[in-house]
């Protein structure tokens, strides 16, 4: 199928894009890489009158060293983020998650900001962004504002970006020296996870000094496994120590039930994947 007819604008600056958004308001939809939006338009699940393409705005692409953080432009493709040596050094968890995201062709088009703005609870980037306490920078008619990851994901496919705003940049604090692993459970290749766990840990000798853990598809938004994080701090990086903490991973979550598994199954999966992810992140996998 092909999309219903729409008008198309391809601004070359964020200001022009914001003006187009202000002009067309509710009738407009932003397109980034189009890897989630185009399937929706082709199935006619949505039929905007205007499509505003961010693809020509060069300033939204690329990864920048911001001193204590990395600034990832919203329009940087999954492929380019995944290949970036700075991301590998300072935010290894993101590099790891991207190797499991979709397939090569989709990674060549799909963007970091587009995936996060889309806010699919099964999307692979939300849990890493949350676990690493990323800051989302959005720009609107009144200027730009910063949204902490903990406030960014509001509900299924819903974020704190207002209708008149554009996500421009994602700032990720630097986690040099932290180990990381993304454990994704799927039934078939290149698909969204039934459950996935994003874990990053900082070791001091054989002890886990700090752990950050995000869960994918364990609720309507990505969630942190706080109880596990707290219990891991100060634990030896051993199978037993990690397993006890990982057993708490699903506490307080409200996972969906669907054809791929019911909520109890997902809770179990979350504990198993958390154990694997933490051990792998600690280099014991």
């Amino acid at each position: 199928m092909i999309p219903a007819a729409f008008g198309y604008v391809a601004p070359t600056s964020v200001e022009e894009a914001l003006a187009a958004l202000a002009e067309h308001g509710d009738d407009a939809k932003i397109i980034a890489g189009g890897q989630s939006l185009l399937p929706v338009l082709r199935m006619r699940l949505n039929a905007p009158e205007w499509v505003i393409d961010l693809g020509r705005i060069a300033s939204l692409r690329g990864v920048r060293d911001g001193g204590d953080h990395l600034a990832i432009g919203a329009m940087t493709t999954h492929h380019d983020v995944g290949q970036d040596p700075m991301v590998h050094e300072h935010a290894l968890l993101i590099s790891k998650a991207i190797t499991h995201l979709a397939d090569a062709q989709v990674r060549h088009r799909g963007t970091f900001g587009g995936a996060l703005a889309h806010a699919d609870p099964a999307g692979d980037l939300g849990a890493p962004a949350l676990a690493l306490d990323a800051i989302f920078v959005v720009q609107g008619p009144g200027g730009s504002r910063e949204i902490p990851a903990a406030d960014f994901f509001v509900d299924l496919f819903e974020t704190a970006i207002s209708d008149d705003e554009i996500l421009t940049e994602i700032r990720v604090p630097k986690y040099g020296g932290w180990g990381a692993s993304y454990e994704k459970f799927v039934r078939i290749a290149h698909q969204w996870p039934i459950v996935a766990v994003a874990a990053s840990v900082r070791l001091e000798g054989d002890t886990i000094a700090e752990a950050r853990i995000g869960l994918t598809n364990m609720g309507s938004t990505p969630v942190r496994a706080r109880a596990t994080e707290q219990m891991l701090a100060g634990q030896p990086a051993t199978e037993e120590g990690v397993a006890a903490a990982a057993a708490l991973a699903a506490d307080g979550t409200t996972p969906p039930s669907d054809l791929n598994g019911d909520a109890d199954y997902r809770r179990h999966l979350a504990t198993v994947l958390t154990r694997r992810a933490v051990l792998a992140a600690a280099g014991r996998g």
Partner: protein, 162 residues
């Protein structure tokens, strides 16, 4: 209608298109390049894979207007002027990497991209690199062999598993 200018298989083209026109439709219906095929409605199968500005993309999931100013290579642009097959095409023929052939244009385009990034991939890297391309016939075995053949790693791979 929106005016687009692009280079397809080395030829400059310009057209007025509806913004909703997909790149694959443009290639097939406007330019008659039916070598690129459509195998699904969900952007899963990869049969429509072409290169846009040097990287593989699913042309059913890109608007023609998004490709404006870009350079597209399709399966029809791989062979030499004299009809000499591209080494990856040759390898698929040599290793019988196809049965019905429907997935083949996409498999070959994705393989060319894969080998450009990783000239001697392991079997696992090949399988992961072709993750976005589905084949209903072959069971993938001969496709993987064809990629190894094109990469010149067939011998090494067989030696290792023997």
């Amino acid at each position: 209608m929106t005016r687009i200018n692009l280079t397809v298989d080395g030829q400059r083209v310009a057209d007025d298109v509806e913004p909703r026109m997909l790149l694959v439709q443009y290639l097939r219906e406007k330019l008659g390049k039916t070598g690129t095929v459509v195998g699904c409605d969900t952007s899963n199968c990869g049969a429509c894979t072409v290169h846009l500005d040097g990287r593989s993309v699913k042309s059913c999931n890109v608007l023609a207007v998004q490709a404006d100013g870009g350079e597209v290579t399709t399966i029809e642009g791989l062979a030499g002027e004299d009809g000499q097959l591209h080494p990856v095409q040759e390898a698929f023929r040599e290793c019988h990497g196809l049965q019905c052939g429907y997935c083949t244009p996409g498999m070959i385009m994705q393989t060319v991209d894969l080998l450009a990034e990783n000239p001697s991939p392991s079997e696992e890297a090949i399988r992961l690199g072709l993750e976005g391309n589905l084949c209903r016939c072959t069971g993938y075995h001969n496709i993987v062999r064809a990629v190894q053949h094109a990469a010149g790693t067939t011998g090494a791979a067989e030696g290792a598993s023997a």
